[in-house]
């Protein structure tokens, strides 16, 4: 693969040329904005009526104000709603991945089920939330059906109840992501050397033992990857609760997420506070990004040997 020394010099410039657009776009649309965001987080800079106040340097005042306000509460809301969606998501996905890849089960129509369970992931989250809002509103179809079936006497006000709202957000997140996770985990399970499963079967392992002793340890890297990327997704939770509660995080801001809070500051043009919220989110995201980087690298090392044919077998397995 090593090229002649003379060639390296003459072709290097194309390397720079080809990667330039990416880095220029990144610089303009993400890096400079990020630096500005961090910079203004140390300023008093907001709009009051038609007047712009600041920017006046205020040190860490914005951060102090943040923690005196309800930042902790919103962080808690975000975590709670993420957990409500993530726990069933990972459990169901593991179960489905194990079933789909178990040759003894011979499940028919795998391709159909995969197509169906992945579909909600492509749905516009804001439209999906609007749909749920219409279906679960006080006199919406869910309530009128429950009443006509005699299950409840008067409408259950899902969106006025703390756990009703959080539960709906969690349910939507679950529905949108469990298909995606299932497909990722399946690909990981199918990447395990089949002789391991054969050996387990010869040794008389039950399906349960095979799952806990062979499958789970072997797919640990991808499980960690799924966990961290899902946490980053949870950190970004916005569309669903924003539309469902009309940006208010009702009832009593118990479904207000961190990005909704950021969005409120951006809309009211309080750039100092928006900056401070962003910086904290950036620090959390940076830690998670590092974690993803290391899991992907560890993953690559273990797979380097069969890197060449990494794509082909999986593709066939999926189509088959």
């Amino acid at each position: 693969m090593k090229k002649v020394k003379g060639n390296e010099v003459s072709y290097a410039k194309y390397g720079y040329l080809f990667i330039a657009p990416f880095f220029i776009a990144f610089l303009i649309f993400q890096f400079i904005p990020l630096i500005q965001t961090i910079y203004y987080s140390f300023f008093e800079y907001y709009r009051s009526g038609l007047k712009i106040i600041g920017p006046n340097p205020v040190g860490f005042d914005n951060y102090a104000a943040l923690f005196e306000a309800d930042f902790g509460k919103y962080a808690g809301n975000t975590i709670i709603m993420w957990v409500i969606g993530f726990v069933p998501q990972i459990l169901i996905s593991l179960l489905l991945a194990a079933w789909f890849t178990d040759i003894r089960l011979r499940i028919k129509g795998k391709q159909f089920f995969k197509v169906v369970i992945y579909m909600p992931n492509l749905i516009m989250a804001s439209a999906f939330a609007m749909l749920f809002f219409a279906l679960f509103s006080d006199n919406g179809p869910v309530n009128s059906t429950l009443i006509s079936m005699g299950i409840i006497a008067k409408p259950f006000r899902f969106l006025s109840s703390v756990w009703g709202t959080r539960g709906l957000v969690g349910l939507m997140n679950f529905l949108m992501w469990f298909g995606n996770t299932t497909i990722l985990l399946m690909a990981a399970v199918m990447g395990i050397n089949p002789s391991l499963f054969e050996a387990a079967e010869l040794d008389g392992c039950s399906p349960r033992q095979t799952f806990f002793r062979v499958t789970l340890p072997m797919i640990r890297p991808i499980l960690i990857y799924v966990l961290i990327t899902s946490m980053i997704g949870g950190l970004q939770m916005f569309d669903v609760p924003q539309i469902l509660t009309n940006g208010k995080g009702t009832p009593d801001r118990t479904s207000m997420t961190l990005i909704m809070y950021l969005n409120n500051h951006l809309f009211s043009k309080n750039y100092g506070m928006a900056g401070a919220v962003s910086v904290i989110l950036f620090v959390i995201a940076a830690v998670l990004c590092l974690a993803v980087y290391f899991t992907l690298n560890a993953d690559d090392d273990s797979k380097r040997i069969r890197k060449r044919d990494r794509f082909k077998p999986r593709k066939e397995a999926i189509n088959g």
Binding site: M130, A187, A285, I318
Partner: protein, 280 residues
């Protein structure tokens, strides 16, 4: 003896799968049925039988001056198509630059992109809005697709794909034939990358089509709004005054085109999810 437990497990597996399938399809089925029913019918509750008000609902959505649906579809199509083209082409170009050439900053550039692979764009939104205001791009569609040139997740997919399916000997051969580097990329590399480009184009298109956070901050002009902003506007309007048939119809318009494309290309999309791992 050996067959029996397996048989019971198969039955349980099918029951769970059918429940999940029902959950996934039920809401969208109700959505489409309700889009064909009139307001009073919808108020009565669920029905599995479509109504006759499809055209009436469609007409009342299209004729509502407060919800510019036609221009919304147009704007969404423009932004999503351009995002998909920019993201796939420039990601492939970047991946090729790092895959096929040796240069001093190759390793740092690669590590850097891998580090920002899953960085949420929301964290720099404040500076982004500030910057595009200064650049005079506020309330235009440009800030919605230009940033797609730098799409780390798409890059990673392209790079992995090149590792598995683009032998460098091919590039050498093109060189010997006198093809220029840029020409080689467009005429030799791009055709080989077609399957990867197609899959990532779909993902980039869909994520841009569904994007709400940044567009809602950038666009305030009614004629430039994309579909998710229109949906949000519907939510913040006084809801009870609305004809529910109209509401369901607008949601249908936003969702159904994606579902149709998905069903047509589902084989490739599902395979793509398994390959990529990384997705925004």
């Amino acid at each position: 003896m050996d067959k029996k437990p397996s048989h019971a497990r198969t039955v349980i597996a099918y029951i769970v799968l059918i429940i999940l399938t029902f959950l996934c399809l039920f809401f969208f089925y109700i959505l489409i049925v309700n889009a064909t029913r009139s307001h009073p019918q919808i108020q009565k509750g669920f029905s599995f039988i479509p109504g006759h008000s499809f055209m009436k609902n469609l007409r009342s959505v299209l004729n509502d001056a407060n919800i510019p649906v036609i221009s919304g579809i147009k704007n969404s199509l423009i932004v999503s198509s351009l995002s998909a083209i920019l993201a796939t082409y420039f990601s492939a170009l970047t991946a090729y630059g790092l895959y096929a050439y040796d240069f001093k900053l190759k390793k740092p550039a690669f590590v850097f992109i891998m580090l920002i692979l899953v960085m949420p764009t929301q964290v720099s939104a404040m500076g982004f809005i500030n910057l595009i205001t200064k650049m005079g791009m506020l309330n235009t569609l440009y800030p919605l697709f230009l940033p797609s040139i730098a799409a780390p997740a798409v890059f990673y997919f392209m790079y992995s794909y090149m590792q598995s399916s683009l032998p460098l000997e091919l590039v050498e051969a093109a060189r010997i034939d006198g093809s220029s580097e840029f020409h080689t990329f467009n005429r030799v590399v791009i055709p080989i990358m077609k399957p990867a480009l197609a899959v990532q184009a779909i993902f980039a298109f869909v994520s841009s089509w569904n994007n709400y956070f940044i567009p809602a901050l950038v666009i305030s002009d009614n004629s430039k709004k994309t579909l998710p902003i229109l949906i949000a506007a519907l939510r913040s309007a006084d809801f009870l005054k609305f004809d529910m048939g109209k509401v369901y119809m607008l949601i249908t318009i936003a969702i159904v085109p994606i579902i149709i494309v998905y069903i047509a290309l589902s084989k490739y999309i599902v395979a793509g999810v398994a390959l990529g791992g990384v997705k925004e």
